[in-house]
Assembly symmetry: C2
Homo-oligomer: 204 residues x 2
């Protein structure tokens, strides 16, 4: 009701965002020209003015997604100093942003696609590298840091899948906090939960 009668012209980024929505909800196959055009309230005529073909749209969406992922990793690193809490927040975030998880899983499922494959490869390497740096910052050697990073990232990916395919199996409510703490205590050497820290201050 705001910008009223004749809505603004679309941009290529508008199309890319709409494509990402389609991927998150129905997978890479859902990146169909006429379909997204309908979702945007226009026709193919608009699309083929902004893009050469379907591949170009998918490519733009992938570029956009990869950039957001990279910025997200960097933002996460800058916001939190303690490497332990960095990883902890990563796990908690696996629960938070549903769309981000859907996007990764959908793209990963189409890793066969020559456009998609290299991108998720880079995203994976970047995220594992991020976690390796965290473990290295805790004083671990390169070999053990890598082992722990791979394991931690596997937990992250597995949690994404569980939240999508069997959300009722993941502890909910108050048990959820326990579960998150349990994960961090298992995967992060020397991790102490905030609740436990508070208790220690009172008793110690």
């Amino acid at each position: 009701m705001s910008k009223s009668n004749h809505r603004r012209s679309l941009t290529a980024d508008d199309w890319a965002d709409a494509a990402l929505d389609a991927v998150a909800e129905n997978g890479v196959e859902a990146v169909a020209v006429e379909r997204i055009a309908r979702a945007l309230g226009v026709t193919k005529g608009s699309f083929y003015w902004h893009f050469a073909n379907r591949g170009a749209l998918l490519d733009a969406a992938l570029k956009r997604w990869e950039r957001q992922q990279t910025e997200d990793v960097i933002a996460r690193a800058e916001r939190e100093q303690d490497p332990r809490n960095r990883i902890h927040r990563l796990f908690r975030n696996a629960d938070g942003s549903k769309r981000a998880g859907q996007l990764y899983l959908a793209f990963a499922a189409s890793a066969n696609d020559p456009l998609v494959g290299p991108v998720i490869k880079r995203v994976n390497n970047r995220r594992i590298g991020f976690m390796m740096d965290c473990y290295s910052a805790m004083g671990l050697g390169p070999v053990e840091a890598r082992q722990r990073a791979v394991l931690a990232y596997s937990v992250y990916l597995g949690t994404l899948q569980m939240r999508r395919d069997a959300p009722e199996t993941i502890p909910a409510g108050p048990e959820f906090e326990d579960y998150m703490d349990y994960i961090s205590m298992t995967l992060i050497p020397g991790f102490v939960t905030e609740r436990r820290r508070e208790n220690d201050q009172k008793t110690g």
Copy 2:
């Protein structure tokens, strides 16, 4: 070259198996009638004699897959007595059978499909239940057993993804054994590797 000239008639199970092959290699969308017909060396005429439509084929493939999964879990349980080694073998198996992993990931990616969703839900519940039983058999209470089972299964799923999307990041060669032992030692309370057990016998 064996059964020579005119090959046997196809059965519905032949079609279901071929459909599973297609799913493992190119996802659920690859379950296309004419495509699988070509792979089997026949035409659609054959298909619509054995099945009513595409959904019936997908349904048959899903039933077949679910049955194999169930039998696999049972077989695994019967073969190994120690609950700790049961879980350990599960992790090692995530590396072994490539086709099984591809199948799960492909089906899970299409969990939107009303035919697929319920099946992978059941499969997940059964496998998590299996792991819960393992942890319970170690003497853990129900709450902690469930937490550990969910975490362990998340590792399992995550490992499947990594093997498909970023296989080079998973430790290979001799480091692989170290990594598997590290996983088990992290996720299984009181787990002792076979190598360590041998050493203890020598030194103790």
